[in-house]
Subunit: 641 residues, 2 copies
């Protein structure tokens, strides 16, 4: 069955520098970006490197009119969404509405040059707008000093850009991996709840409101100012909301009619503007946006404010919103890339977002990324390349140059309805239920974000949820799964005795499988609680005394000093109990360290086996021999007696 020619391969440990290089490559360059043109000539290499770093050079030469037709349609559709969303989200961040329009002009153009996703539509996002408001509003009141507040927003956007670019250049895409899907689901749900509730201000036409963002305070504020409630506003809001929800329902039912949902916000704005302009809505309790000047983005370089009083807040807001917006963008980009069987590169995306925000912060834009809703509309409208963003930018330019003043009649209640409708779609009940059914810990992570955001603040929710995720990751390694193996009848397969109850135990031999790196956080647990406890249990249950213990290390990918020390101690403890230790199938990294730490010399190379079967045969052989010797010894004693 097993060919005895093969033995465990005790290679000389690889040089540190070699394994270190390999580990660094795996950590920072898992995608091997340059492997594809390793064998090309120099000039070709330079060209491909430029194409690699600036993706537009890769796809633009192949661009043609056929693709352009699709992109124009998609671009126009997302513009019709970008105008109301831009104004709404800017108001969410307590910024002049025009900033929202500016932010849909420059950043999409930058993304077209550096972005690697064909599907992403660039724009502002609700959650980060609110988060910026929450963080910076605590330092400077947007009511009392709107200019300073605006400048801090630019500065914070600038830091977001620097942060994202730096992460991209340092190839720290790995950071994004630590915000799990469960965290995002909960965070989005919680954010949607509080943003929706806040929109009651616009729907009810309130003049005063709280700046707090937790559910309790917001609801309190709604009822506290009930003397300001305006029924006209409420009725208009309800109508708009119903219309938007019906449009969304139509899209869900008939995916071909996606454009109904896509242009519905624009329709709401148009109807609202008409009503406010013709019906003199302001007289009837319908407040409007007001004051939208014609003209393109002015420069905002000299507005960046690096005053040390505000620096901690701006840097913090920049880093947190940078991370969240990046995760949102990369997550949506990845989802559509998988559907379309394309590839996007997390690190390149970060750099693209970074440039987009740096240049944005210098041209009167605030934080942009790839929002869920807009990107989905973009894909549904048939976009083919990032050119759709250029079309969006161009349409927005025309709007800014000629149409902006029209939108100043947009009623606030229309914007509130648009935001609320968008937010209601972000609460993913099914996903939460699914998490609950399949993985309770993931559900807890999700709920931590959800309730943390709704009842605490966005930071608290995020920290709680990420903390729980990390705790789980650490528990995975601190309490590694180990199991006892038994032989499946009539085979040479050894499987978990709990999973396969038909397995047979091996008289006097205990086979344990460890399934995790062995290192400082789990080594004393492995020794004291797993291995020694299994021996005690085994001795209590069976009539045979355990004479051999075999550790199957196939699943142990890594070991550290404390782990090796633990094994050395284990040999000593087992010797006291007259039990022999055998190691089965150690992997290369583990064996290298064991060799370096002289563990192999202490245990002896003979105790390392390539397979469980081989190890058991060897153990049986020594047991037979010793039994015979004992028998011989005792009979001899009897003779003497």
């Amino acid at each position: 069955m097993t060919d005895s020619k093969h033995t465990v391969n005790f290679v000389t440990p690889r040089k540190f520098i070699k394994t270190f290089k390999k580990d660094c490559k795996e950590t920072f360059f898992p995608d091997e970006p340059f492997s594809k043109f390793r064998h090309d000539k120099l000039l070709q290499k330079v060209k491909k490197t430029i194409q690699y770093f600036i993706p537009i050079f890769e796809w633009l030469p192949r661009y043609n009119l056929h693709l352009f037709r699709y992109d124009v349609l998609a671009g126009i559709t997302i513009t019709s969404l970008a105008i109301p969303q831009g104004i709404s989200y800017a108001r969410l961040a307590d910024l002049p509405p025009i900033i929202g329009l500016y932010s849909s002009f420059v950043p999409p153009l930058i993304y077209t040059v550096f972005g690697s996703s064909n599907n992403l539509a660039v724009g502002t996002v609700a959650a980060c707008s609110l988060l910026m408001h929450e963080t910076l509003g605590a330092v400077v009141s947007p009511k009392d000093d709107p200019t300073l507040y605006l400048h801090l927003i630019y500065t914070s956007t600038f830091f977001t850009g620097i942060f994202q670019t730096a992460l991209g250049f340092c190839r720290l895409g790995i950071l994004v991996d630590f915000l799990s899907h469960s965290t995002i689901t909960g965070f989005m749900g919680g954010t949607a709840i509080i943003i929706s509730l806040q929109q009651m201000k616009g729907i009810l036409g309130l003049k005063h409101f709280t700046t707090r963002t937790d559910v309790v305070r917001v609801i309190q504020a709604i009822f506290h100012y009930r003397n300001e409630w305006k029924w006209q506003s409420f009725v208009a809001g309800l109508v708009f909301l119903c219309f938007l929800q019906v449009a969304r329902y139509v899209r869900q039912r008939k995916p071909n009619l996606f454009w109904v949902s896509a242009i519905s916000p624009m329709a709401v704005v148009a109807v609202g503007c008409l009503y406010a302009y013709l019906g003199d809505g302001e007289q009837h309790g319908i407040a409007i946006v007001g004051d939208l000047k014609k003209g393109l983005n002015p420069s905002s370089i000299h507005y960046l404010n690096f005053d040390s009083r505000y620096l901690p807040a701006t840097i913090r807001a920049g880093a947190v919103t940078g991370l969240i917006s990046m995760v949102e963008g990369i997550a949506i980009g990845r989802s559509f890339a998988i559907i379309k069987n394309e590839q996007i590169d997390g690190n390149k995306e970060m750099i693209a977002y970074g440039f987009m925000n740096i240049i944005g912060s210098l041209t009167s834009c605030y934080l942009t990324t790839g929002p869920f809703s807009k990107t989905a509309v973009n894909v549904n409208s048939g976009c083919k390349t990032p050119m759709a963003n250029v079309v969006q930018g161009f349409c927005m330019m025309l709007t800014l140059l000629f149409l902006a003043p029209i939108f100043s009649y947009t009623p606030l209640v229309a914007l509130a309805a648009i935001i609320m409708s968008a937010m209601l779609g972000l609460i993913n009940y099914e996903e939460m239920y699914h998490l609950y059914k399949v993985d309770k810990f993931d559900f807890a992570i999700c709920m931590a974000a959800f309730f943390g955001v709704s009842f605490g603040s966005m930071d608290i929710g995020l920290l709680l949820s990420v903390g729980l995720s990390l705790l789980r990751a650490l528990l995975y390694v601190a309490r590694p799964a180990a199991c006892k193996l038994g032989r499946l009848p009539n085979t040479s397969l050894y499987r978990d005795t709990e999973q396969y109850p038909e397995t047979m135990s091996l008289e006097g031999i205990l086979v344990l499988q460890l399934g995790s790196p062995v290192y400082f956080a789990n080594c004393s647990y492995i020794r004291e609680s797993r291995i020694l406890r299994y021996i005690n249990e085994e001795d209590a249950v069976t009539e045979y005394r355990t004479e051999h213990i075999l550790l199957d290390l196939s699943g142990v990918a890594s070991i550290d000093m404390s782990g090796i020390d633990t094994f050395i101690e284990l040999i000593r403890v087992l010797k006291g109990k007259h039990i022999k230790l055998g190691i089965v199938n150690p992997r290369i990294e583990v064996l290298e360290k064991m060799t370096l730490a002289k563990f192999v010399d202490v245990l002896g190379k003979k105790a390392f086996y390539l397979s469980i079967e081989e190890a058991i045969q060897s153990c049986r052989f020594t047991m037979d021999t010793s039994t015979k010797e004992e028998a011989w010894g005792s009979s001899k004693t009897e003779d003497v007696v």
Copy 2:
């Protein structure tokens, strides 16, 4: 070879409550404390439970005169060490020297009742004394307001006790596991360096000194006050230090003469006192301790200070020193328990330390634990039970009642020499070199603590080092090891192709082994970088197109939602490439989640295999069939043509 009767066991997933209970048990009660008397009668159970929680009831009934003789000898020996160490470390924390003596009276008695180690000798420790001084000295100057400072020390000791007791009751012994051996080695080394350097104040007889603890400031301070250097003090210090080092050397060479090293500090103190008393040392630049009153510990209940101004500092000092002293005590306790083949219980130890510090803080003691040096001397002197601590307490009581004033003549330079000599033994060069040879990352963790403590502060060093350890733990799981398996010639064993270069590749079948939990932090890496990259590499190298990919999940102990979503996406991606996915030997936890998440239904139960061999036979069969069909199909086409 493989009996086809056995298949993967698709059990119904276990109830959540069942697995949750099991996980909790593994996390908090890995030692199954009550399993031993599960079948006893009620009265017996109560008795054994009391014995379990208060270990003295377990060993005292079995205690006899024979054991007592050993313990008396050990107790007297450790007292001779406790007096100079107590005074020295109290001075290190800038406390009245008598507090050090008080701390060697009450806490050892408490430990005797609750402690589970037969070897531990209770006393104050250098590192935590300094750490308390560093943290609390920053809030209240021990020079300007010694009374308040002393009260804060009591309060902080009280919090240490509360913290340790709470951790013990919550069964959070797991926290101790996160301070790795490498961290402790580096931390102790760094602390030893700065404490040694600080002793230059005593050795040189300086009156003024810095309160900073980093190497640079301390050396600056030594030279800044060079006009205060006293040669008499320096010569005496050098003589004492040489004597102590020789005594240590003797012990290392001849372990039987351990008592030479054990009583040498007491000898130094005795000689110093004699010299100071008879030779009027103070006139000749030899400062003495001064003012040690007779009498037992006074109560200090009413000195606990819960003023909110100082609370953050006292709580922080309490928690940090609590954790470190606990790790030091448990680590040394474990080491000796292993040597003597005994068992100690981390959680019980924590509770014992906690009670010891709570009651200590109420009786004018400061932080105590089981110090390395004292415990080693205790074991060498032949201690058998915690009774040695009672003897220590009794001797210390006699000292406090009758001998204390004698020790007021102890020269400071003698204490400095004692501390310095003890510290020099704590720098474990060999261990550091060993770490460097075997595991560079562990070495980096150790050096982070070492240099962090020496050049920054103790907090910085500890945080840096623990941070690096956690980072490593997270990297283990974020970048899991995966490897390609090949068949060893003439066997049915499949092993890593890198480790065993003689393995043969399997035409058209790619076998990958994953060796880590699959979850949010690594799932996109696993999919994009590992699995898909392996397929590309395989297709580039071999002439066969990959038709089947088999994932060996034997080493995957756990999976979360993101991991399962990744596998579901993987099926879709592979379908696009016309590659079939097979899962080999999923473990019970993984299979349960896969069933719940309907992954099993999506992939089909036929694609789950019990062994690689079985999977490959099945793949070969389908490949043969399809080749025949193709051949048949093409021949048919040819016929038509």
